[in-house]
Structure formats: structure tokens, C-alpha cells
């Protein structure tokens, strides 16, 4: 059968097979998970139950419940001093995934370029390609602690890209940017006519310094599509709820597609999300716990010789496996078979990252401890067999 060329070209790979392997195996300790281990806080779940009991089972307006958009607008003002008009500049989406896709589709013309910084969450190159765009990869290196290489970026900007996708705190590296770092980045970007699609889904999960939304930088708001969500901050992945904030023209174009393809985000999720915005207490408790696990696992991995930069947000670390002298897919497969520990091979986030694995610490400390001791045994055995 002849399927759409763009879809056909989307890369499946050895990674998919590896994932299937993990999913089919029992009693695996998984450090390969991309979502919180916490269940959604009860008061949010309770609100969802209440919504069902009250019979909230209909569509909402395309942009989402106005009450939720208003609550979100107030939340962003209070938290980041960011002002978005709830009626014109906010769209409630089915997860950040949808917002990201919409942003690329409304901005990119056929063969227009988009900068994607690597290592990259798998959806970025995919949505750019599906929208017909071309990817300009911006490689971040462990030598720079996975920060953005400004010289490399400057060279890419010469090719007049239409947009750049940023993601901080970052999946898979956990690296984030301080306000001064973001200012420096913006001062370079603002010289070219470029849109910033900023995926900040992990914003509340920041450990070392307060999160700065890109849109809050002076002069940046007009050029930024700010994507955020509830999945990670409030452990609500299954609710499928995110938001996009940006200039009215862009948001209404995104709403146009959204109204045809999604119609609206699920109403029960929207009602539950408005409860999430009432207080961040539960989110803070989760972040404290993640922080402890981060400190534990990063220290342990470095002690094992798997060099790991300290993540400043999210719940991932990106560890170098150079010491093990094998590539990431082999490393991950052998670790899975021999020790029943799952990690994500670095090449899932870009072919250049075969010397890394992504390790998620969204698991209880006891599990992390067991996993670390298994990795230790695994490395010892691997060294011996050489």
C-alpha cells in the first residue's frame, strides 16, 4: 500500500524493538519511564469524579473552558508575571504534544527550516517533518554540560530558520537555563526573524533556580509560543491536558486546526486541571522527593564511572556510558537481559548520542537503590569479560 511519504519517512528503529522488548518483560526495574510515579493528587482526582457525577460530559468551546483559561491566566500572572488574555491568547490542548504539532503546522511552510536542539525529545523532529519543514540540528554536548553552543546557533541562524524549538528543563538531559542564560540566548535570537516554540512542560520541576518562561524575557513574548501542561507538574499524564499561549494571530490559527482535528480537550480533564491550579502544595512535595532522588542517583552514577551532569529540572539524567565501552542500544539491551533494569538508549534522542543513556528517577528511592546495585554488578561483569 502506498502511504503518505512523510509518514513513511518517520524513523522507527532499533529503539522501537527495544521498547517492545521491555514492555514484554516482567519484573523489570524500569528507569526508562517518562512520567511521574506519583498518582495524580487526590483532590484533583476527586474533582474529576465530581465533574462526572455532576454530568459534565459534553464538548467545551474549542479553546477550552473559559473558566480554566482564566484560572491559567491568573496562575501565569501570579507565578511568572506573564500576562496572557484568556479569551484570545490561550488555547487548551490535548497535552503539550498537540500544542507542539499545531505550532509547527501553523508556522512552517513546505521546506521552511526549524532548529531543533539535540539531544531531542522524539516528537520534535517528527512534528517538524510532518509539517513539511526541514530540521536544522543544533547539537548540545556533554562537554558544554548540554548548554546551547552559541557559535553553532549563530551559524544556523544564517540559514534563516522560521522557528526554533526549545525545551527546558530538558528531556532527556534535565538541563535548564537560568534567566541570564536565557537573556543571552534571546539577544542572539532576536536579531533574526524567528519564532520560539518553547516547551516548558517540566517548569515546576526545577531544583536549583526558579524557572523563567522564555516569553517573560523582555520583548520575547511576541515571538514565543509558550507550551506548558499539567502532565508532569501535577502527575496528570493520562488526563492529556496542556496549553499553548502566544500572540492572538498564532493562537487563533492553532485553534482553527484544533477545532477540526481535536474539537476540544476532554471536559473532565479541564475541570480537574482547574483544581490543580488552585494550589501547588502537592507539586512542591513531589519536587522535593524528586530532588532527593536526583541527589542520590547522580552521586551514585558518577561513583560508578557513568559521568552524569547534575540535572536542574525534570526527572531525567543523561549519563555517559563511555566507561562501559559499548554503544547505548547494546548497553541497554544487555542491562535489560542480564540485570532486568531498563534505561533508554541515548540514540533515541539523536544518532549522535550513542554514548549516553537516559535514566529516569521517577521511581521510589528503594527501587533506584536496587537498580544502582544491579548496574554496578553489570559494569563489573562487563569489565571482567574484556
Amino acid at each position: 500500500m502506498k502511504l503518505n511519504r512523510r509518514v513513511n519517512n518517520l524513523a522507527p528503529s532499533g529503539i522501537r524493538k527495544f521498547f517492545d522488548l521491555v514492555l514484554g518483560m516482567k519484573e523489570v526495574i524500569s528507569l526508562g519511564v517518562g512520567e511521574p510515579d506519583f498518582v495524580t493528587p487526590w483532590k484533583i482526582r476527586e474533582k474529576a469524579i465530581f465533574a462526572l457525577e455532576e454530568g459534565y460530559t459534553s464538548y467545551t468551546s474549542n479553546k477550552g473552558l473559559l473558566s480554566l483559561r482564566r484560572a491559567l491566566s491568573r496562575f501565569l500572572k501570579r507565578k511568572y508575571n506573564l500576562v496572557y488574555n484568556p479569551e484570545k491568547e490561550i488555547l487548551i490542548t490535548a497535552g503539550v504534544s498537540e500544542g507542539l504539532d499545531l505550532a509547527c503546522r501553523v508556522l512552517l511552510e513546505e521546506r521552511e527550516r526549524a532548529i531543533v536542539s539535540y539531544p531531542a525529545y522524539v516528537a520534535y523532529p517528527a512534528v517538524v517533518s510532518l509539517a513539511g519543514g526541514e530540521i536544522l540540528p543544533l547539537f548540545c554536548s556533554d562537554k558544554d554540560n548540554f548548554q546551547i553552543d552559541m557559535e553553532q546557533l549563530e551559524k544556523l541562524l544564517v540559514q534563516r530558520p522560521k522557528l526554533i524549538i526549545l525545551n527546558y528543563p530538558n528531556n532527556p538531559t534535565g538541563i535548564s537555563f537560568t534567566r541570564p542564560q536565557l537573556r543571552e540566548l534571546w539577544s542572539l535570537l532576536r536579531r533574526s526573524d524567528i519564532y520560539i516554540v518553547s516547551d516548558e512542560i517540566y517548569d515546576l520541576i526545577s531544583y536549583d533556580f526558579p524557572h523563567t518562561p522564555f516569553a517573560s524575557l523582555r520583548g520575547a513574548k511576541k515571538h514565543t509560543i509558550y507550551l506548558g501542561g499539567f502532565s508532569k507538574n501535577f502527575a496528570m499524564t493520562g488526563f492529556r491536558l496542556g496549553f499553548a499561549c502566544g500572540p492572538e494571530e498564532i493562537i487563533s490559527a492553532m485553534t482553527k486546526i484544533h477545532s477540526f482535528t481535536m474539537l476540544c480537550a476532554p471536559i473532565v480533564s479541564q475541570i480537574a486541571a482547574s483544581e490543580a491550579l488552585v494550589s501547588e502544595t502537592e507539586a512542591h512535595l513531589m519536587v522535593r522527593e524528586y530532588r532527593r532522588r536526583r541527589d542520590f542517583i547522580v552521586k551514585s552514577l558518577n561513583e560508578l564511572g557513568l559521568t552524569t551532569p547534575m540535572p536542574q529540572g525534570a526527572f531525567y539524567c543523561f549519563s555517559s556510558i563511555k566507561a562501559a565501552r559499548m554503544e547505548s542500544l547494546e548497553f541497554a539491551s544487555r542491562l535489560l537481559y542480564q540485570k532486568k533494569v531498563a534505561v533508554v538508549p541515548g540514540e533515541a534522542f539523536g544518532a549522535e548520542y550513542k554514548n549516553f543513556v537516559r535514566i529516569s528517577f521517577a521511581s521510589p528511592l528503594e527501587e533506584l537503590k536496587t537498580a544502582i546495585s544491579r548496574i554496578k554488578d553489570f559494569l563489573a561483569a562487563a569489565n571482567k569479560s574484556r
Binding site: L23, V33, A342
Partner: protein, 161 residues
């Protein structure tokens, strides 16, 4: 509250090594802080939360919540009479509370009769005790933040981007 105490309150068996890693302190420092807390009486004891519903030999034991109305004594207030009461071995917990009664006790006995006897023979006859109301505990759902019935396992995918 010091994070160290918080971690210990949640898991008294956490090792010094883990405490050090998780709090970013040295093991030596962690150990000396704990010593200090023990000495100052901030850490009183390390205990284990046991689900006695699951122990056959403990199953028949009864717990009662007892409301006690008392007349405070001149110059001594509630403390004197509270001490007379909480020193009984049977009294596991004793709180002074506001509202329609004064002391709230948790009393343990091997059966209902034993608790009834304790109330009739030890508690009620005390001079300052004006009255008691006994509630026998039927089922524990949650204690110290821990839910007794484990909910079903989570359904997270074990690997995802």
C-alpha cells in the same frame, strides 16, 4: 523541620549512607546530627507501623477511643490529672483537646471486657473525672498518613520517551 527528621519520620531504617546522599551531607555530619536530636529528645524513638489486622494473635485485641471530662485542679490545671491517667499501661495515647470533653485517650486491651473494666475500675472512679464516653474501634483505614489497604498497582508503561 530539618529534612533529616522528615526522612527518618517516614523511614526509620534508612541508612546513614542514603541519608548522606539524599541530603548532600557527609555521613559523619548526618550521624552527629541524629545523635544531637536523640540527646535533645527531639527523636524519641524509632518505631514500626504494623498492620495488626493481619496478625491472628493480635486480631482479637481491642482499641478504644475514650473521651474523658475532667475538672481541672487548682494550681495544677489539667496536667496533674492527665499524668494520673496516662501513666496507666493501658493508655497508649493521651491528648488534651478543646471542645465538649477534655482528654482523648487511646486505650488497648485484650478484649472488650478488659477495656470496660479499666474504665469502670481505674478511670471513672478518679475524683476529677466527671464522665467518660467509650468508642470501640472497628476498623483502621489510615494511620500516621499510611493507608492500610494497598491500592492496586500502577499502570505506568515501563518505558517511554
Amino acid at each position: 523541620m530539618d529534612e533529616l527528621l522528615e526522612l527518618l519520620e517516614n523511614n526509620a531504617r534508612i541508612s546513614l549512607e542514603d541519608l548522606a546522599k539524599v541530603t548532600g551531607r557527609s555521613q559523619k555530619e548526618v550521624a552527629s546530627r541524629i545523635k544531637k536530636y536523640e540527646k535533645k529528645g527531639i527523636i524519641l524513638k524509632y518505631k514500626t507501623l504494623i498492620n495488626k489486622n493481619k496478625l491472628r494473635e493480635e486480631k482479637d485485641k481491642v482499641l478504644a477511643l475514650i473521651e474523658v471530662k475532667i475538672t481541672p485542679q487548682k494550681d495544677l490545671g489539667f496536667d496533674y490529672i492527665a499524668e494520673r491517667i496516662y501513666k496507666f499501661e493501658e493508655v497508649k495515647t493521651c491528648y488534651l483537646v478543646s471542645g465538649t470533653f477534655d482528654l482523648l485517650l487511646v486505650v488497648e486491651g485484650k478484649d472488650i471486657q478488659t477495656v470496660a473494666n479499666f474504665v469502670a475500675e481505674k478511670l471513672a472512679p478518679l475524683n476529677s473525672v466527671r464522665g467518660t464516653t467509650t468508642h470501640f474501634l472497628l476498623k483502621k483505614y489510615k494511620e500516621d498518613g499510611v493507608i492500610f489497604e494497598k491500592t492496586k498497582g500502577k499502570r505506568r508503561l515501563s518505558i517511554a520517551y
